[in-house]
């Protein structure tokens, strides 16, 4: 008990003290140097602590993951690209990769599309806050919770039995046989993506709605005065001005789709050809004890995300330049 208290005090008090001490020290040292060197060195010395944190918590693990991905399951001997070869030749992982592509396309298109539609539509009604709250609510539910809720929606019982699943109750009421929504590939992956869309649409809507409020009404009014109808106003004025926000939201959704794990784990645990790359990575590491293979998957995921981040950063730079 005592030692933990001491450790806590040392961290809370000692760490800031250390950092301030560091700054005072380097300033004292810099004052001894000629002016030209002072200006050259000062920025580097000031960001050195931040850089070292970043290096330790971000760069080092990344490099270590790459190294691990080239080693065997005991992380001892190097096996070259065997783990990558396994990843790209195993039928199970290829299914995961295919599913992630479906996730990226559908989740991004649906969540951003529906979010944009709702943002634009509720902008014109009096009960906007209420409508937005309802759409936003699912984001507050944990993914595991959402997965369990939707498992009830997709629940299956044989024909003739009472249908406890909402969807099958509706389907049978309409006179069709009940379906095993979570077992029939490839529609089961879409069934899972719908859960993610249900969660993330609210997020997209809120960001896009905020961006929409930032567009000055004069622009739209001017267009309407010039005789543009509402569809034209949206296509020529609103959407182009919303594009930066759409790009940010879409990037977030692409990364979310690549990281998709909870919903799949809870609802099908990767069975019935619904596995995704993140679930595969989890399984390789914690179930199969294959850190090499798991690291290889992590590296592949990283490589897939890099271009998205690159495009995003370039866009940010362009916007900065305009300002």
């Amino acid at each position: 008990m005592d030692t933990r208290l001491v450790v806590a005090i040392v961290i809370v008090v000692g760490l800031p003290a250390l950092l301030i001490g560091y700054i005072l020290l380097i300033e004292a040292v810099l004052r001894l140097l000629p002016g030209r060197w002072q200006n050259r060195l000062r920025p580097w010395l000031w960001i050195a602590p931040a850089l070292s944190f970043l290096g330790f918590f971000l760069v080092y693990p990344t490099i270590n993951t790459v190294v691990l991905s080239l080693q065997d399951k005991f992380s001892k001997t190097f096996v070259g690209l065997a783990n990558y070869q396994y990843f790209f030749s195993n039928p199970d992982t290829l299914v995961s990769l295919r599913n992630n592509v479906i996730w990226i396309v559908l989740l991004t298109a649906l969540a951003v599309g529906v979010g944009l539609l709702i943002a634009v539509l509720v902008d014109r009604v009096r009960y906007e806050p209420a409508a937005k709250s309802v759409i936003f609510l699912p984001l507050a539910i944990s993914f595991v919770g959402a997965g369990i809720i939707w498992r009830f929606v997709y629940d299956y019982a044989p024909a003739g039995e009472p249908q406890t699943g909402l969807l099958n109750a509706a389907v049978t009421a309409a006179g069709f046989p009940p379906q095993t929504w979570l077992q029939d590939s490839p529609t089961n992956t879409i069934a899972l993506i719908i859960v993610a869309v249900w969660i993330w649409t609210g997020f997209c809507m809120v960001i896009l709605s905020a961006a929409l409020k930032g567009i000055s009404p004069e622009l739209m009014e001017a267009a309407r005065v010039d005789g543009a109808n509402e569809v034209q106003v949206f296509r020529r004025i609103t959407f182009p001005l919303l594009l930066p926000a759409v790009a940010v939201v879409a990037t977030t959704m692409v990364i979310t789709a690549l990281k998709a794990f909870d919903i799949v784990y809870v609802m099908t645990s990767g069975n019935f050809q619904t596995n995704v790359v993140a679930n595969q990575m989890y399984k390789e590491l914690f179930t199969n004890g294959q850190p090499g293979r798991a690291s290889a998957i992590a590296v592949v995921l990283l490589v897939l995300i890099v271009p998205v981040m690159f495009i995003n950063i370039r866009r940010f730079r362009q916007q900065e330049a305009i300002r």
Binding site: G160, Q183, F272
Partner: protein, 453 residues
């Protein structure tokens, strides 16, 4: 803090009640407690706890360190079990419960820091510890004649390496029981598995409608498929015998071999005769698998599970005590009749201190095992233990004690990657039985990569 005190006093209360019960039982019993005789003869000089033993006659003093997998309610049951021994000898049991016992013992053998007594993960690990010279034989420690006479032969064999006993079973459980609704199935005990299939089908046809012979529930989150793996294991054990079973679990028997394929096909036959078919089996949680035994009209005749399922019968199936009963797994191949799959808690000795010897001798007795059994949640492999809280458990214990061959759950003893692939294969097979060959080929490739060190 308050909570802890409350819990302690509750534990103490139950311990006291148990002690009273045991005292009452043993005073009525004919045999004197062996715990008293063994320590009295053993020299009580080198107490492992470092304390000097009490001088009074029979009392040992000192302490025994014990590591086991039991935590929570199970830990309370174990402590209740050793309490009479502690009272009698004056020695203390220092118990540590951990789920990571395999790691602790393996590293302990390397470092030499081992508990006096420990629960062992399984027969395979036990044999490894014996080969490392870490486990001490128990032949001269416990009453061997009584132990071999009263314990299921299959379980004695599992605890034996090179004709020496190294592990005793403190408790055990049994799988592969065919549960039925006593109001629906009235055709008597099936002698063979084929007879069970035939009689089940007759009953199901009599019910008519959608009723089938079996109900199966495979859904269990990330472990979905395990109930089917139990089916396949039972088919391997009862159909092809313990030798094939052991080779298969050890990774030396291919999944594509005729024996294992036949077991999968037998499970495929079960799925074909399952209420709602494979899709419904995959959509049904294992806990709810027995619900259809008790619906009107019933959906099925038999459900295959261990004794734990009776709780679910009552909670989700709405059944009451006496409405259900079971038959042990019937004979598939006469050569392997009486083979039983189950689980058990092996217990071994690493340091032969007088206290440890005395405690092991005590734990092997029916008097000690009756304590845990009486608290519920366990079966004893000892014939003399009869303190079961209900008739069903008593009958299950009889099936266990009469087991000629006893094997641990095979999937649990495979490498994790293998077990995971096994579960997944069950789910895939139940969904589409036509894919059996590719499923088994895939399992072979997992076998090739997951067993190699």
């Amino acid at each position: 803090m308050e909570e802890r005190i409350v819990r302690r006093s509750r534990v103490a209360g139950s311990l006291m009640a148990i002690t009273l019960l045991v005292v009452a039982c043993s005073s009525g019993g004919s045999s004197a407690s062996p715990a008293a005789s063994t320590p009295a003869s053993a020299p009580a000089a080198s107490a492992s706890g470092g304390e000097s033993p009490a001088a009074s006659g029979g009392a040992l003093g000192g302490s025994v360190s014990v590591i086991g997998t039991w935590t929570g309610a199970e830990q309370e049951s174990f402590m209740a079990m050793v309490k009479p021994w502690e009272d009698q000898t004056g020695a203390k049991v220092e118990y540590t419960g951990t789920r990571d016992i395999n790691n602790i013992l393996t590293t302990g053998i390397q470092s030499g820091l081992l508990p006096d007594l420990a629960g062992l993960p399984g027969p395979g690990q036990m044999a490894e510890y014996v080969q490392a010279g870490a486990l001490k034989p128990l032949n001269d420690v416990i009453d061997m004649t009584a132990y071999t006479a009263d314990t299921a032969p299959g379980l004695v064999t599992l605890g034996t390496v090179n004709d020496q006993l190294y592990g005793i079973f403190i408790k055990a459980d049994i799988k592969g029981l065919f549960w039925y609704n006593t109001g629906v199935y009235k055709d008597g005990a099936p002698a063979t598995y084929d007879e069970l299939l035939a009689k089940g089908k007759t009953t199901a046809d009599g019910i008519g409608g959608e009723a089938k012979t079996f109900c199966v529930g495979l859904e269990s989150g990330a472990a979905s498929g395990w109930p089917g793996s139990d089916w396949v294991e039972q088919f391997v054990l009862n159909g092809s015998g313990p030798d094939v079973y052991d080779k298969w679990v050890a990774g030396q028997q291919k999944w594509t071999s005729p024996e294992i394929k036949a077991a999968f096909e037998a499970f495929g036959n079960v799925i074909a005769n399952t209420f709602g078919g494979g899709k419904n089996a995959n959509a049904t949680n294992f806990v709810a698998s027995g619900d259809k035994l008790f619906s009107t009209p019933p959906g099925c005749v038999f459900v295959n599970h261990g004794t734990f399922i009776t709780d679910a019968f009552k909670k989700t199936g709405g059944a009451t005590d006496g409405q259900f009963d079971f038959y042990p797994f019937p004979t598939m191949n006469p050569a392997f009749a009486g083979a039983v799959e189950g689980s058990g808690d092996l217990f071994g000795m690493f340091n032969d201190t007088p206290q440890a010897k005395s405690l092991v001798a005590y734990l092997a007795t029916p008097e000690a095992q009756a304590i845990w059994v009486g608290r519920g949640g366990a079966l004893s492999a000892n014939k003399k233990v009869t303190s079961y809280p209900n008739e069903i458990l008593k009958k299950a214990a009889e099936a266990l004690v009469n087991a000629k061959t006893f094997r641990f759950d095979g999937g649990d003893n495979m490498p994790q990657a293998m077990q995971d692939a096994f579960f997944k294969a069950i789910v895939d097979y139940a969904q589409d039985p036509s894919k059996l060959d590719s499923i088994l080929t895939n399992l072979d490739s997992v076998q090739a990569s997951s067993y190699t060190p």
